[in-house]
């Protein structure tokens, strides 16, 4: 049974295991956000909501919001804007990427799968293109809270594997809570519904089973029609 805590709640005496979402004061561990306690390895408070803060190595989906030579400024659903350097694209561009023609490669509102390669203390964020993922013109983007991402993925990827299989879609879940779906229109609709279901019931137990049930029943409905 997992415990819901609010900021300032006492969580544990074990200062050495204090992890994310906690703070230590006078030799005790307290919750720093509103969420649930997880004390499997380290003591963490898993927040119910909040904004995505980039961490080195995360793969996220970004949107180009500005072109400012030699960078593309990318919105990554975080309080901080990130930048993608011209040279990232130059490697696979046919012509030289120059001042004035950057929009020919990536234009405003284009979506990119990018990896966070550096975050400094001033929260300047550098990105690299994730080349194996081409989220171009096709498909659909869903935006959810980044706190729900582990739930969509499931334990060792169980949930996402099931989703991909049963919805017959290509699904890419980015760390910042943006989800890319590519597939047939009705398949995408089903995937969208299921993801919505997972986010609203993220805090409940036996979710994977319920999602499986939901998927099977909606599949049968489609067949009957």
């Amino acid at each position: 049974m997992y415990k819901v805590v609010i900021p300032g709640d006492f969580v544990s005496d074990d200062v050495n295991r204090a992890g994310e979402g906690t703070y230590v004061e006078d030799g005790k561990v307290y919750a720093v956000t509103y969420g649930v306690v997880d004390d499997k390895n380290e003591i963490r408070v898993v927040a119910f909501s909040g904004k995505y803060i980039p961490v080195m190595g995360d793969v996220v989906i970004g949107k180009i919001i500005e072109i400012s030579f030699p960078y593309w400024i990318v919105d990554i659903a975080s309080p901080y804007e990130a930048r993608l350097h011209m040279s990232e694209v130059a490697m696979r561009a046919e012509k030289r990427v120059e001042f004035g023609n950057m929009s020919a490669y990536l234009d405003f509102d284009d979506l990119v799968a990018v990896k966070v390669i550096n975050v400094d203390a001033m929260m300047r964020i550098d990105l690299a293109l994730q080349e194996d993922l081409d989220i171009g013109s096709e498909g659909r983007l869903i935006e959810i809270s980044y706190t729900k991402v582990p739930r969509i993925i499931g334990r060792k990827g169980s949930m996402i594997r099931m989703l991909k299989e049963k919805c017959k879609c290509f699904i890419f879940v980015a760390k910042n809570g943006r989800i890319w779906i590519k597939g047939k229109s009705e398949d995408m609709k089903l995937a969208f519904e299921v993801i919505l279901m997972i986010t609203t019931e993220a805090h409940t137990s036996g979710l994977t089973d319920r999602v499986a049930e939901f998927l099977d029943s909606s599949r049968q409905k489609v067949k009957k029609r």
């Binding site: 900021p7 649930v36 309080p79 334990r155």
Partner: protein, 249 residues
């Protein structure tokens, strides 16, 4: 009621609205009432009705007001034109600017601002109906809304006013007591630690009355803290299944 008219504030040890000296008005707290805000709270304190919305952390504008080391808190207290008897002229005025400032400072000790350098955390408190003590109601609502938005905080802030009417120190003044009473003292504090984060006083109290008032307010803040806490916890227990499955991945 005419000005200068004598009011009998205390009758048989009871106040005008039948409360005892140390009794709070009814408090109702609802969490997550706004779809678009990152966190929100609707709160009623007697006849006060306030709504608080929290956005962020998000990029701070204007840029020159950014703080390279920590997040900036923006707090806006605003009264709706229809919140009082005579229509209030809309927009910020001397009073609301002051209340916004003291409320913001009441939260500065608890919010983990250094987690989000250069960002802004925005709190909007709208007073829909006013009946004295709106700033305390606003702080209580903002506190819950901040938690709902997932803002990292050391603790919740609870707030209440004490005052003096008819020669007695009483808790949580209503509009009549506030307007015609002798003193009014709103207090915001971290209940769990008994740390005061905001204190203002209007009118006069003796040293002894101040001490008694403070004690009343501290007790009340503990009660309010419990209400804020239950409102937040209940929100997640309400949904059909209570148990949280083992966290995955």
């Amino acid at each position: 009621m005419k000005k200068g008219e004598e009011i009998e504030f205390i009758k048989d040890g009871k106040r005008l609205d039948g409360r005892t000296f140390d009794e709070l008005r009814n408090i109702k707290i609802e969490v997550g009432v706004l779809e678009r805000a990152d966190g929100s709270c609707y709160l009623e304190l007697g006849d006060n009705k306030v709504i608080a919305a929290v956005y962020g952390p998000r990029e701070m504008h204007p840029r020159h007001a950014q703080d390279a080391k920590m997040a900036v808190i923006k707090f806006r207290y605003n009264m709706a034109p229809f919140s009082v008897d005579d229509r209030k002229r809309p927009g910020p005025d001397r009073r609301s600017v002051e209340i916004s400032k003291v409320s913001r400072e009441a939260f500065e000790p608890v919010i983990m601002r250094e987690y989000y350098p250069k960002a802004a955390i925005e709190v909007y408190v709208e007073i829909l109906q006013s009946d004295a003590g709106t700033r305390t109601a606003g702080i209580n609502a903002a506190s819950v809304a901040l938690a709902d938005a997932g803002i990292p905080m050391k603790d919740l802030v609870s707030s209440i006013a004490v005052g003096k009417v008819g020669g007695e120190v009483v808790l949580d003044l209503n509009a009549v007591e506030d307007n015609y009473g002798e003193a009014d003292m709103p207090i915001a504090m971290i209940a769990r630690k008994n740390t005061i984060t905001a204190l203002q006083m209007d009118g006069r109290l003796t040293k002894d009355e101040f001490g008694r008032g403070l004690k009343l307010a501290m007790n009340a803040c503990h009660q309010i803290y419990e209400l804020q806490r239950t409102a937040l916890i209940e929100r997640y227990n309400k949904r059909e299944s209570v148990k949280f499955e083992e966290r995955e991945a």
